[in-house]
C-alpha cells in the first residue's frame, strides 16, 4: 500500500522543484528520492512474492455459506491492519532541505485551495447569521418592553386594591357627581329647547305655536298670570312619576295642561293614555 503514495510524492515534488535555480541540491534531492523509491519498490516485490507463496492455497468463497468465509477473511484482514498500525514506527521523511521545502509548499498550496473554497461559504453563512442576529435583537427589545409594561401594570394593581374602601368611596362619589352634573346639563338644555320651541300659550295674543290652529286665546286671563303649564313642567312631571313609581306611572290630566300640547305628546308617542281611563296618561316606556 505504500508504493503508490511514494510515487505520487515523488512526481509532485519533482514538478514543484522543476524550476529551482540551484541545480546541485536539486539533483541530489532527486537522486535521494529515486533511491528511496527503488528500495521501497524492492520491498514491495519481496512482499508480493511471499504473499504469492502463502496464499497459493486460498480459494473462492464457499458456495453454501459465503458469508462465513467473507467474515472470516474480513476479520483476518482487520487484525492484520491493526497489528501493522500498532507496530509501525513513525516514519521520518527525508531530511534533505529541498524535499522538505517542496513537501511544505505542496501542503500549503493544498490548504490554501481548501480555504479559498471555504471562504465564500463562510461569508454567506456569516451574513445569514448577522441578519438573524438583528432580527432576534429586535424581538428581544420588543419583548423586554412588553415585560416592563406588564411589570408596571402588576405593580399598580395591588396598590389600587390596598387602598380599599376610602378610595372606592371617593371614586363612587366622583362618579355620582359627574353623573349629576351631566343630568343637570341635559335637563337644562331640554328646558332651553322647550322654551324656545314650545313655549306655553300666552293669554291674549299668545306666543304659542299656531301650527295646530290658533291656540285658544284666553282673554279671560291676565297678561302676567299665565295659567298654562309649560311643556317643560309637564314632561318633568311625567318623568318623575314614571321614575318614582314605576308600578303606577299615570298622572291625571290637569286643566292647566294645554290640550294641544298633550295631544302632541300623545301623537308623538312620548306619552300614552291609560287604556281604561282617558283622563290619565303616562310616559311611554321606551326603556323596556
Amino acid at each position: 500500500m505504500g508504493t503508490p503514495v511514494d510515487c505520487d510524492r515523488v512526481s509532485s515534488i519533482s514538478t514543484s522543484m522543476g524550476n529551482s535555480p540551484d541545480w546541485t541540491p536539486l539533483a541530489s534531492a532527486q537522486c535521494e528520492m529515486k533511491q528511496e523509491c527503488v528500495e521501497v519498490w524492492r520491498d514491495v516485490n519481496m512482499v508480493q512474492q511471499s504473499l504469492d507463496e502463502e496464499t497459493a492455497g486460498a480459494g473462492p468463497a464457499d458456495s453454501h455459506c459465503p458469508l462465513l468465509a467473507v467474515s472470516r477473511a474480513k476479520q483476518l484482514q482487520l487484525q492484520a491492519q491493526v497489528e501493522v498500525l500498532e507496530s509501525q514506527q513513525p516514519q521520518l521523511m527525508s531530511t534533505h532541505k529541498k524535499v522538505i521545502e517542496a513537501v511544505l509548499v505542496n501542503l500549503l498550496q493544498e490548504s490554501l485551495e481548501q480555504l479559498a473554497e471555504l471562504l465564500p461559504a463562510m461569508k454567506v453563512q456569516q451574513k445569514e447569521l448577522s441578519a438573524s442576529l438583528e432580527l432576534e435583537e429586535q424581538l428581544l427589545e420588543q419583548r423586554q418592553e412588553i415585560g416592563r409594561m406588564l411589570e408596571s401594570r402588576l405593580a399598580e394593581v395591588p396598590e389600587a386594591q390596598e387602598t380599599s374602601v376610602d378610595s372606592r368611596v371617593k371614586t363612587f362619589r366622583r362618579k355620582i357627581k359627574a353623573a349629576e352634573q351631566f343630568h343637570g346639563n341635559l335637563v337644562q338644555s331640554l328646558a332651553e329647547f322647550l322654551d324656545t320651541h314650545f313655549p306655553p300659550p300666552q293669554p291674549g295674543k299668545g306666543k304659542g305655536r299656531r301650527r295646530h290652529g290658533s291656540g285658544p286665546v284666553d282673554r279671560t286671563l291676565d297678561v302676567d298670570d299665565p295659567q298654562w303649564e309649560t311643556l317643560n313642567n309637564m314632561i318633568e312631571t311625567l318623568i318623575c312619576k314614571s321614575m318614582d313609581s314605576p308600578h303606577d306611572p299615570y298622572i291625571p290630566m290637569e286643566p292647566r295642561y294645554w290640550p294641544p300640547y298633550v295631544e302632541m305628546l300623545l301623537r308623538c308617542g312620548i306619552a300614552q293614555r291609560h287604556p281604561e281611563d282617558s283622563g290619565r296618561f303616562k310616559l311611554a316606556p321606551f326603556d323596556l
Binding site: 500500500m1 508504493t3 503508490p4 503514495v5 510515487c7 505520487d8 514491495v44 516485490n45 508480493q48 504473499l51 504469492d52 496464499t55 486460498a58 480459494g59 473462492p60 468463497a61 458456495s63 459465503p66 458469508l67 468465509a69 467473507v70 467474515s71 477473511a73 474480513k74 484482514q77 482487520l78 491492519q81
Partner: protein, 203 residues
C-alpha cells in the same frame, strides 16, 4: 478444492479464480472488471467511467465480460484487477443467474471492499422478473454493498452519477487514496443491531 466431486455447479479450477494480489500494481493505473450478461449496458458504463477519468491523471482500464471464469489465454497479459462490478438487470433473469455463478469464481479477498453489485432497472417497472429481495439476499450473503443505478442511453445523468460512485470505489481499491477499502465498506453498513424481522409482525 472441489476438484473431482459431483456437484450441480460446474467445477472451478484453482487457476481460474480471480485474485486481487496476484500481480504487482502499476503506477497511476486502475483496472475495473464489469461482469454482466448481454444487454446490461456494460459498454456504455465503461465509456462513462473512462470519460470521467480523462483529466484526472488516472489511467483507467475497464474490462468487460459476460461470464466468469475468464479465459485462460489472457491471464499473462491481463493487468491485476482492482475492482469487480457485477451488473444485475432486474428485467433480465439471465443476468442474475450469470452473476450468481460468477461470484463463485472470485477470490474471497474481493468481497472485502473490492467488489460491488450494480442493480439496473430497479425503478419498480412492471417488467421486473428478478425480485429486489433476491438481489439484496445475494449481496448480504457476500457481505458486499449494492448500488442501484442506470447504465443505458436513456439516463445519461444517472449513468454519470453511477460512474462517479464506481470511480471513487475503484480509486480507493487501486490504492490512490491512502485508505483501506475495508474502511469504505464500513461506511455502507448500519452498525446498530437490528432486531429480527418476524418480530415486526407479531402483534
Amino acid at each position: 478444492m472441489a476438484a473431482e466431486q459431483e456437484s450441480d455447479m460446474p467445477e472451478v479450477l484453482p487457476g481460474e479464480i480471480l485474485k486481487p494480489f496476484n500481480k504487482m500494481p502499476c503506477r497511476d493505473t486502475a483496472t475495473v472488471l464489469l461482469v454482466g450478461s448481454y444487454g446490461t449496458g456494460k459498454q456504455q458504463l465503461a465509456k462513462a467511467m473512462v470519460d470521467l477519468c480523462t483529466d484526472t491523471g488516472l489511467k483507467l482500464q475497464v474490462r468487460t465480460t459476460t461470464s466468469l471464469p475468464l479465459p485462460e489465454e489472457n491471464t499473462d497479459t491481463r493487468p491485476r484487477i482492482d475492482y469487480i462490478v457485477f451488473i444485475i438487470d432486474l428485467t433480465n433473469r439471465l443476468s442474475f443467474s450469470t452473476v450468481k455463478s460468477a461470484v463463485q469464481c472470485v477470490d474471497v479477498e474481493y468481497f472485502l471492499g473490492r467488489a460491488c453489485f450494480v442493480v439496473t432497472n430497479a425503478k419498480g417497472t412492471s417488467d421486473q422478473c428478478v425480485e429486489m429481495e433476491e438481489v439484496s439476499r445475494l449481496a448480504d450473503m457476500y457481505n458486499t454493498m449494492y448500488i442501484c443505478g442506470a447504465t443505458k442511453e436513456g439516463h445519461p445523468d444517472e449513468r454519470t452519477t453511477l460512474a462517479n460512485q464506481l470511480l471513487r470505489l475503484v480509486e480507493v481499491s487501486a490504492g490512490r487514496k491512502n485508505v483501506s477499502p475495508l474502511l469504505l465498506d464500513l461506511t455502507c453498513r448500519q452498525l446498530s443491531f437490528q432486531e429480527e424481522q418476524p418480530e415486526f409482525y407479531t402483534v
